[in-house]
Amino acid sequence: MAVNYIYPEQEIVRNYDRCIACRACERQCANEAHEYLPEQKKMTSDDAKCVSCHRCVSICPTRALKIVRTDHDFRKNGSWDKKNIYEVYKQAETGGVLLSSMGNPLDFPIYWDKILLNASQVTNPSIDPLREPMETRVFLGAKSQDVTRGADGKIIPKTTPQLELSLPVMFSAMSYGSISYNAHESLARAATELGIYYNTGEGGLHEDFYVYGANTIVQVASGRFGVHREYLDAAAGVEIKMGQGAKPGIGGHLPGKKVGADVSRTRMIPMGTDAISPAPHHDIYSIEDLRQLVFSLKEATAYKKPVIVKIAAVHNVAAIASGIARSGADIVSIDGFRGGTGAAPTRIRDNVGIPVEMALAAVDKRLRDEGIRDRVSVVAAGSIRNAADVVKAVALGADAVYIGTAALLALGCHLCRTCNVGKCNWGIATQQPDLVKRLNPDVGYRRLVNLMTAWKHEIEEMMGGMGINSIESLKGNRLMLRGVGLNEKELSILGIGHAGE
């Protein structure tokens, strides 16, 4: 008799007094956790198949279902918790490298939650954003270093290409392949309506989405999938992917079985072939080499588009960002260790990288100390959850932030963390047509617009409270931040005082 070492993490609880056996949960679950028993005319379920995506809970007409975390546990043990024990079981059984998705779920400190914002009282009046104009617009790109005047004394304008954002938030890189067509359409349309940008990730750009090019950032990774002249021409900006917060030092490998007809078209590789983009760009071994890729993209786009370099937040991120600023890149994007992913080895996701709060503060300080802060814009990513995180990131020195997980949550993601399996019941992290159509782009795009509109109001309120009416005046304004419960070292890296100071 087979012995199963693993007890399911969650239990499906059905209230049989309410269940009318309509079988909707059965139809909606791609994991086949629900089943109708015709003889008994009742539903049953298999907890082992449930991934806790809450699709059934959300559609059940009688609210008969809930998913609970199991209370089944091992004997209490300070060093061997259930997670570690089960991971050993899984590997002992399969010999496989553990694969996970979404961001690092472990209990590391979240510095956003240990930072508090300032507000004006008495002397420096706060501003009511409903009454007075507030500026949340930002421009990303290198800023002019000096002023040149013509013979007539007039300033000769020499602006480098900029990305104009109506609020300092963009949708981060998620490739077509890791997420669905409908998810991409929702992001592209929302970015267009909001006057911000979404990012194609490294999977190429579907021909249907070229019309959203003015609000699209296209990515160039080591494998160069889907990169060609028209792709670069279509975009507003080009991002070189050097690293990703969820898996620093690890590349992408889309297995051939996920490369169907449409994904093959955008990646420009034959159907069914592996798409391998290793972590290193094999033509980049130095900042000078990076400079070459940056300028090759600028040449290919006639210097009309800003070039972003995206790196994972790692130990010596400040020195790396300084090199990037000197490489000619217009924008550096820093992805913290909590950033999401469609698939990453568990060990890497859970153990590599540093918090973006620390990385951002260190990068901003380093660039200021070196007098090159204006040469690049800084975008922070990986764990931005709400408008307060955005405001804190800007005050720590970010020009803007990228959001990934928050955008997917707006589209219906329930953070079940099984994107790597490809059976997302919410139509997001899947290529299965029956599942993809559950995400209606008309609804999805609206929800994204709503979320960003709400955040914009909240950002304005927080700024107004501080007596600041332009986001530019908040940038790097660390006097507006105080730490709670942080030690001296943490405060000094963040460059902020403690509450009460």
Binding site: E87, K90, Q91, E93, T94, G95, G96, V97, L98, L99, S100, S222, G223, R224, V227, H228, R229, L232, H253, P255, G256, S264, M268, I269, P270, T273, D274, I276, P278, H282, D283, Q292, F295, S296, E299, A300, T301, A302, P345, T346, T418, N420, V421
Partner: protein
């Protein structure tokens, strides 16, 4: 309209601006390391370059034709989509990086990582023919297209360094040599090319002879090793969902 541009007088950015603005025959003189020439250039441009163009010649190129009468440097044809690059000398490292279409002919040797990430898609089948030998990691991560190394001028034994075909998962690679390649990973199989294999590359061999005056008969009757991905042994590291 034919234009002649003096690279030395212009420097690389103005030179490339001028190339972008021009169409038809474009002749570049006194080229000495100017980078990114013919970046994303389309079929309305035909370049003839005297001297040594700098890195990333023809990057993202999309249909133009480029002839270099000397050597070229690194990353020639990076992410090239279409067109032809002919080099009457040697080429540097990462020749044809992630090239998806068009062809590159090099009369002499090329450097490390020749044909890295080369791929193919629908009717796009890129071709690289290197007349001499190459550095190590030939065809690294190669995912498609045709890569031919003729090793002319080095006896009948190819020197392509080590680790040929590391990460290769598509395309075909021919190496003209008496001896089989070394260090081929288990995900790649190699065998002596048969007559019909060689016949399949006859158009590229003829083009090479025609361009550089090589002995076509010799090329057609030599011993070649054909490397292809080993489909029974793919790169599927075993993963366990967690």
């Amino acid at each position: 309209m034919a234009v002649t541009l003096n690279a030395k007088a212009l420097g690389y950015q103005p030179l490339n601006d001028a190339v972008r603005a021009a169409t038809g025959d474009i002749e570049i003189t006194e080229c000495f390391g100017e980078r990114f020439i013919a970046a994303s250039a389309t079929a309305d441009k035909k370049l003839l370059i005297h001297g040594v163009p700098g890195n990333a010649l023809g990057c993202y190129m999309d249909g133009a034709s480029v002839v270099v009468d000397g050597n070229a440097q690194d990353a020639v044809g990076d992410t090239m989509n279409d067109g032809e690059i002919i080099i009457h000398g040697r080429a540097g490292d990462a020749l044809g990086y992630a090239m998806r279409g068009g062809s590159i002919y090099v009369k002499g040797d090329s450097g490390y990582r020749t044909g890295i990430h080369m791929k193919q898609y629908l009717d796009k089948r890129p071709v690289i023919v290197v007349g001499g030998c190459t550095g190590s990691f030939l065809g690294e991560y190669m995912a498609g297209g045709l890569l031919i190394v003729l090793s002319l001028g080095s006896g009948d034994e190819a020197d392509v360094g080590r680790f040929t075909g590391t990460g290769m998962h598509g395309g075909r690679m021919f190496i003209r040599s008496k001896n089989p390649p070394r260090d081929v990973p288990e995900q790649v199989v190699y065998r002596r090319a048969e007559a019909d294999d060689i016949a399949s590359i006859a158009p590229q061999l003829s083009r090479f002879s025609e361009l550089f005056g090589a002995d076509k008969e010799l090329l057609l009757t030599s011993v070649y090793w054909l490397l292809e991905p080993n489909s029974t042994n793919p790169y599927t590291q075993m993963y366990t969902n967690n």
